[in-house]
């Protein structure tokens, strides 16, 4: 450990110098996108559209967290709702018990899932991919069963209201519950998450974890610790899932065991994969598209599951790399033809 620290430090320093060159671009792009978000409530007047967009964005954050895990670790979580629901319930339970200020609870609701994932990850990221998936599912379903039975404090399947103070981080709590302002909050959170994850992915750490994903044994022979970085990716992913849960709890002010159920994990996974997890932003795009399509189909017919299912099959068969894969390919073709044009 003691010998490893300086060596790692040197590498991190080298990597961060390399990343610094690109950092301003990412930050600038994120800033612009976030700013664009502020304009949306003015352009979109409809409360209905805004509330749907807010919920789509919260789902997009959850899908992003799953996608990041797939991209960096090559592991698929079937139980990411665990982190989402854990965070939402932490907010709700704190509101009931008044254990700490709500601001601290927000941080705890992100930190606790992350810590949980880190320590669980130290044991389970080593497992075969499918076993890992099933264990994440097992953890999430156990939490689901726990909350379903915990009637005293958490209301069992009736769920519990999230009691919040009148101000959070100095901001009127109403703003977290009105669609127009909450859209901006969620949007900025999503943009920040994607920006941070992009920087992480480009950093030495990100490159290292992808290398481990490709060939763990080689990375180990070269002399890297392979376990801790992968557990850290899991933790980071859980933190993002937790953030989505916090936003969900703030916006809905109500949480039920459904927030932990495997059908939510499954839906978020679908979003991530149709979006294409090879791009950090892919799952978010997939989430918004899935959310909007499901919503529109639900309006049209009660046979929406058949339509969604058929579309899912067609889209995955035609675009196994997801939508981001398609866009990237188009982009590359475009660039190549432009270069050809120049020559």
């Amino acid at each position: 450990m003691s010998s490893a620290v300086p060596r790692d430090k040197a590498k991190v320093a080298a990597a961060s110098i390399a990343a610094e060159r690109r950092t301003p671009t990412v930050v600038l792009a994120a800033g612009l996108l976030a700013a664009a978000g502020f304009a949306v409530p003015w352009v979109v007047g409809s409360q209905l559209a805004l509330t749907l967009m807010t919920q789509a964005v919260i789902h997009a954050i959850l899908a992003t967290s799953i996608g990041f895990m797939i991209r960096q670790n090559g592991l698929t979580s079937f139980g990411h709702a665990a982190f989402f629901g854990m965070a939402a319930y932490l907010m709700a339970l704190n509101g009931k018990l008044d254990a700490m200020p709500a601001e601290l609870a927000v941080l705890a609701a992100i930190a606790v899932p992350a810590a949980f994932a880190f320590f669980a990850g130290l044991i389970i990221v080593r497992l075969p991919a499918l076993s890992f998936s099933m264990l994440t599912l097992a953890v999430a379903q156990s939490l689901y069963e726990l909350m379903l039975r915990w009637r005293g404090l958490a209301g069992g399947d009736d769920g519990m209201a999230v009691r919040l103070p009148s101000r959070l981080f100095g901001i009127d709590i109403e703003l977290f519950q009105a669609p127009s302002s909450m859209f901006v909050v969620s949007w900025c959170a999503l943009v920040a998450v994607i920006a941070i994850l992009t920087l992480v992915a480009r950093s030495h750490f990100g490159v290292l974890t992808v290398a481990i994903r490709e060939n763990e044994e080689r990375a180990r022979y070269v002399g890297y610790h392979t376990l801790v970085p992968r557990a850290l990716v899991f933790a980071l992913s859980a933190a993002v899932g937790g953030l989505a849960g916090v936003l969900f709890a703030l916006y809905n002010a109500f949480v039920t065991p459904g927030a932990l159920h495997w059908s939510l994990s499954g839906e978020a996974l679908i979003m991530a994969v149709i979006g294409g997890p090879q791009a950090i932003w892919g799952p978010a795009l997939g989430a918004v598209i899935f959310f909007v399509v499901k919503n529109a189909m639900g309006d049209l017919t009660e046979h929406w599951p058949a339509i969604i299912g058929a579309m899912l099959i067609v889209v995955t068969v035609l675009l196994p790399q997801g939508i981001s894969g398609l866009l990237n390919r188009l982009n590359r073709l475009n660039r190549r033809s432009r270069e050809a044009g120049k020559a």
Binding site: S46, Q47, L48, T51, L52, Q55, E145, L148, R149, R151, G155, G156, D157, D158, G159, A161, Q177, F248, N252, A253, F254, T256, G258, A259, S263, G298, D299, E302, W304, P305
Partner: protein, 398 residues
């Protein structure tokens, strides 16, 4: 010849004029838009279907009679899959689209998720089949109403029935979630009050596939009677397996939501002779109900309203009458007309308590038996409204 032609002409023009008048009257007044966030798909879609038919029946009936308060009634259904967060999302959508008088959601957790938002959405909600006490108790809301019997009302019915029974030793089989646990507790209290003993308590997890372990435990406990609080799929799976073990032949069985019109239709002879709390039954012999049941049979030939259908129809009656009384479709006005008002329902004249927004109605006990050749739960004992709906719930502060 001429006369008959003229008569036809006059008749037709009368129809045309009245149609024009009706449409123009409708056009003049804002329509009554009812939103129904309910289970169209997923595990509870059968119950969703029952309430949907009742809502559609009530809406068609009202429109055929010239609307409510001279307004056309429009209705929109959205699927909640019985998931609370989706119910909240769909209810918000309905409210923002103007369908801000809502009703007929399936699960209590869904209604509890919708309740706190009603003020913000400027909407109103009438619960018709959801039983959690909290809806008109701890979590009551100014815009939240309920017309069906809550859990505490069912508990209040057990005791008078149990007092008539000779079986001394009882077992409980109830679903392991808030409702089942509550019902088990209600039964335990009733047993204590009537000098019976509970020898075996079983709380199978929701959605169990195999009840053999619990059935065997009841058989081994020496119980002479059994109280069952299982619903939907759980009820059917349990009943089928219990029958195979001969359990129903050995112990007197009674329950709540266990043998509804829906499950009896599916199970048939398996559940013949089982005692049950009945919140509503098409067999109820009052003039208002007889008319409802015969009109229903005209709209849906060969069918009669189920318990959930009947309760939902009561909800629609209350909404229509409140709109008429308020002369408005604004949720705030309708809520004002609803709270403390009395309503003519198929179960008689009922008061919507202003203290907790619970409709005060009677409750029933009966048995599954053949009525006109069809097996169904039939009413044997009526518990009057004063006993059946005690309260107002002290936990509710409006």
């Amino acid at each position: 010849m001429i006369d008959s032609k003229r008569a036809t002409f006059l008749g037709l023009s009368a129809v045309a004029v009245s149609a024009v008048l009706a449409t123009s009257a409708w056009a003049a007044k804002e329509p009554l838009k009812i939103g129904v966030p309910t289970s169209l798909t997923g595990p509870y879609s059968q119950l969703g279907d029952e309430v949907k038919r009742a809502v559609e029946f009530a809406v068609n009936e009202a429109n055929a009679a010239g609307g409510v308060d001279g307004r056309k009634v429009e209705v929109r259904f959205l699927d909640t899959e019985a998931k609370p967060d989706l119910a909240r999302q769909q209810a918000e959508k309905l409210a923002l689209e103007g369908y801000n008088i809502m009703t007929a959601t399936i699960a209590s957790s869904e209604v509890l998720a919708i309740g706190p938002m009603l003020g913000r959405w400027n909407a109103l909600y009438v619960a018709t089949v959801t039983k959690a006490n909290d809806i008109t108790g701890k979590q009551c809301q100014p815009r939240l109403f309920r017309v069906n019997r809550p859990d505490y009302s069912d508990a209040a019915v057990i005791q008078p029935w149990l007092a008539t029974r000779s079986e001394a030793k009882w077992a409980i089989v109830a679903a392991d979630y808030a409702w089942g646990r509550g019902s088990g507790e209600g039964f335990r209290n009733a047993a204590a009050a009537t000098g019976k003993t509970v020898v075996s308590e079983n709380y199978p997890p929701l959605g169990s596939n195999d009840y053999a372990a619990f059935i065997q435990k009841v058989l081994d406990s020496g119980a002479q009677g059994m109280w069952v609080a299982l619903a939907g799929r759980d009820a059917i799976t349990f009943a089928r397996q219990a029958k195979q073990f001969g359990l129903f032949d050995k112990v007197t069985t009674a329950g709540i939501s266990f043998t509804t019109d829906g499950t009896v239709k599916v199970l048939g002879d398996v559940v013949k002779g089982i005692n049950t709390i009945i919140n509503y039954s098409a067999t109820l012999d009052t003039p208002a109900n007889r008319k409802f049941v015969s009109d229903w049979a005209k709209a849906y030939p060969g069918d009669s309203p189920t318990n959930f259908g009947g309760e939902t129809y009561i909800g629609m009656q209350v909404i229509f009458q409140a709109v008429k009384k308020a002369g408005s479709v604004k949720p705030a006005d309708v809520a004002k007309a609803m709270a403390g008002g009395t309503f003519e329902t198929i179960l008689g004249t009922q008061l919507m308590r202003k203290e907790d927004h619970q409709l005060v109605g009677p409750n029933y006990f009966g048995i599954v038996e053949a009525v006109n050749g069809t097996l169904r739960p039939a009413i044997k004992m009526t518990v009057p409204a004063q006993t059946a709906t005690p309260g107002p719930d002290a936990n509710c502060k409006l």
